[in-house]
């Protein structure tokens, strides 16, 4: 809490200093706009993203900025609502006249902004998972997180390896879980796996034993896959243990934060999920290029905020780094040039994996960016 206030003050002071410094010297600050879901149902994503952006912009400015210019960050909270995201995007483009846009914690808020940035021709890096953000490719839109489709593919590949052919799906009916559910149904056939039960819960349901009982009574279920984030998966996990389901439980990357283990306690023992290297930095092979990057980020984040790092914070970190690197390479904030440079991002090692974008791939992550992780005694254990 005190850190929040501290960072808030720092951010305010930093913006003030930046703008006054900007007018004093000839160099105008580079303006980066962000709209994030810092409150509302997706604050689980937006809050760490916001903290990360503020912390690293501050850090970059202390080191002299980019192209000798300071960075000015303008953040708005869309509360997870698409219509608010749309208005704030307009505000960032028209009123704040930002040079580059980061944000959209959720697929819904991102998609609400897409037509606006395409019209305004502004480079835009989304922090949301939905595959439709970059498929089909939109000229000005990029994204940093793995798609929900990749998470599903990683899980189904792991299930196939273990010889499971009949599995049950239980997902949350809000944005993240719903699109994960739809993507899962789309790719599951490629792995010779059949979904024999398909249940849904609301993010704030106090109890999901009814849905799990239905799954338990569906004949032939060999494993269960839960797609959601926030307290939902923790309740699913607890209820799962309570019912003694007797089959393995798989989660999505939505639970790749220590909070999940804290909430669900020892019921998480044996749960498998796809996650970025960020959650297991010390277990990565010494030769893994990601190892130093994620170790440093995890340390910096956790020292600054006294809370466990999540992959969502990592998405914001990657987005900012990719953006700043592109601006540096472009040598200006010329929108067309910056866009081209983002698209040329190649071999950037981030918290999510190795990013190499192309004109047809505006995310640039491969399935190898995901690791399968198993939870044992409250700790993440790399288990590819």
């Amino acid at each position: 809490m005190r850190d929040l206030v501290k960072w808030g003050v720092v951010a305010v002071v930093a913006t003030g200093v930046c703008s006054s410094a900007g007018t004093a010297s000839a160099a105008e600050p580079i303006k980066i706009g962000a709209f994030l879901s810092a409150t509302g149902p997706a604050s689980f994503l937006g809050e760490p993203e916001k903290k990360t952006l503020e912390m690293y912009v501050e850090k970059v400015n202390k080191a002299g900025g980019v192209l000798g210019r300071k960075i000015e960050l303008v953040v708005y909270d869309d509360g997870g609502a698409g219509d608010k995201a749309s208005t704030f995007t307009k505000r960032l483009i028209e009123s704040d006249k930002v040079d580059l846009l980061i944000g959209g914690s959720t697929t819904g808020t991102t998609m609400a902004a897409v037509p606006l940035v395409e019209r305004a021709q502004l480079p835009f890096i989304s922090l949301a998972g939905g595959v439709n953000i970059v498929e089909p490719v939109k000229k000005w839109v990029f994204k940093t997180p793995h798609t929900d489709r990749m998470a599903a593919e990683k899980v189904f590949a792991d299930m196939k390896k273990k010889g499971f052919t009949k599995v049950a799906l239980i997902s949350e009916d809000a944005g993240f879980g719903k699109s994960g559910h739809d993507q899962s149904l789309m790719v599951v056939k490629n792995y010779g796996i059949e979904i024999v039960a398909d249940e849904v819960y609301s993010p704030k349901d106090p109890d999901v034993t009814a849905q799990l009982t239905k799954i338990k009574n569906s004949p032939g279920v060999q494993a269960v896959f839960n797609f959601g984030f926030g307290q939902g998966p923790a309740i699913v996990t607890k209820n799962f243990k309570q019912l003694g389901m007797g089959v393995p439980l798989f989660q999505s990357h939505g639970v790749a934060s220590k909070d999940y283990i804290k909430l669900a306690g020892d019921a998480t023992d044996g749960v498998r999920l796809p996650a970025a290297g960020l959650v297991v930095p010390e277990q990565l092979a010494a030769t893994d290029p990601q190892k130093p990057v994620v170790s440093a980020f995890k340390k910096e984040y956790e020292t600054a905020f006294k809370s466990d790092v999540s992959t969502f914070a990592g998405h914001a970190y990657d987005g900012l780094q990719i953006a700043l690197a592109a601006i540096a390479r472009a040598g200006s904030v010329d929108k067309e040039k910056v866009r081209d440079e983002i698209e040329k991002t190649s071999g950037y090692v981030g918290t999510g994996g190795m990013v190499s974008m192309t004109p047809t791939d505006h995310m640039g992550l491969s399935l190898s960016a995901f690791h399968m992780v198993e939870i044992r005694k409250g700790e993440w254990v790399l288990s590819d």
């Binding site: 809490m1 604050s43 849904v200 704030k204 009814a210 909430l263």
Partner: protein, 291 residues
């Protein structure tokens, strides 16, 4: 088959008891003042958040729980004193907006005082499920049932056997007449808010080991509690309990036998149907319209 049904029933009872506790708070304030307090869910949130963060900070559980109840009651009293009391003679809708404003304010304050993360409390009696005829039940669910039962008995005793409780009931029937026979209406209003805030906190504390809590946890609980109170008949404590259980069980059976995607919708359809035929809820008093 029966084991599955029993499991659905347990699931419904667990959710239902939580909704019922939330609904009771609505009923008490409505009884004393004919106000619907849309900030009732926030009392629940405060109880859960305060106790969870205090326990996490190393405060022993019994002390944390007591403190959480006191904090919540203080907030309830402040709400009545500074927001409801000055607007006592305003329209029903005006007071609804005040309480909605209060709920937004409390959520905003909670995210600053605490944080936006989820918090949990350790279960009171461990986490080993109890097996009953092939179905299972968590010990914490029994705590919720038990607390709900104790609360009902305590409320019954308070309203029927104590002078002050009777005075509160009298005020709900006829404010002017109560005032004429010397009942301090202001005091009654204040007490009703303190009582329902206390109740909210108790609810928040016993359900946090099951559902976890964060600064927005009160929204859903408030909504379900309001539904429970209206379904049971406003101002009727027993009605709120029955209403909550019906909503919880309907949701669980709907996800078990029909569609989990539409379970919330099915619960609302049931409420609508009941209201079509019983416009004052299941146990509500018939309202008379004064000319």
């Amino acid at each position: 088959m029966f084991a599955a049904f029993l499991q659905y029933l347990f699931s419904g009872l667990t959710s239902g008891a939580i909704y019922a506790l939330a609904g009771l708070g609505f009923a008490i304030i409505y009884n004393a003042s004919h106000v619907i307090n849309f900030a009732q869910g926030e009392f629940i949130m405060i109880g859960g958040m305060a106790s969870a963060t205090l326990v996490a900070a190393g405060v022993p559980m019994p002390l944390a729980i007591t403190l959480a109840m006191i904090i919540s009651m203080a907030v309830g009293v402040a709400l009545e004193k500074f927001a409801i009391e000055p607007a006592r003679n305003a329209d029903v809708v005006t007071i609804i907006i005040i309480t909605i404003g209060a709920s937004i304010f409390m959520r905003g304050a909670a995210q600053i005082i605490w944080d936006k993360e989820f918090h949990s409390l350790p279960a009171f009696s461990g986490e080993i499920p109890i097996a009953v005829l092939g179905a299972t039940l968590m010990p914490q669910s029994l705590w919720v049932f038990g607390v709900a039962a104790v609360v009902i008995v305590a409320l019954w005793w308070f309203f029927n056997r104590t002078m002050f409780g009777k005075a509160m009931l009298a005020t709900s029937h006829n404010r002017l007449a109560a005032q004429l026979v010397g009942v301090g209406v202001k005091k009654v209003l204040l007490a009703s808010f303190a009582l329902s805030a206390l109740l909210g906190a108790v609810g928040g504390i016993v359900v946090t080991p099951i559902t976890f809590t964060n600064y927005e946890a009160g929204i859903m609980l408030g909504l379900k509690g309001f539904s429970a109170a209206v379904l049971g008949g406003l101002g009727n404590g027993g009605g709120a309990i029955v209403g909550g259980l019906i909503v919880g069980i309907a949701e669980a059976l709907a996800s078990g036998y029909l569609s989990s995607a539409y379970k919330d919708a099915i619960a609302f359809v049931i409420i609508l149907f009941v209201l079509f035929f019983m416009p004052n809820g299941l146990f509500g008093k018939r309202g008379t319209d004064r000319v």
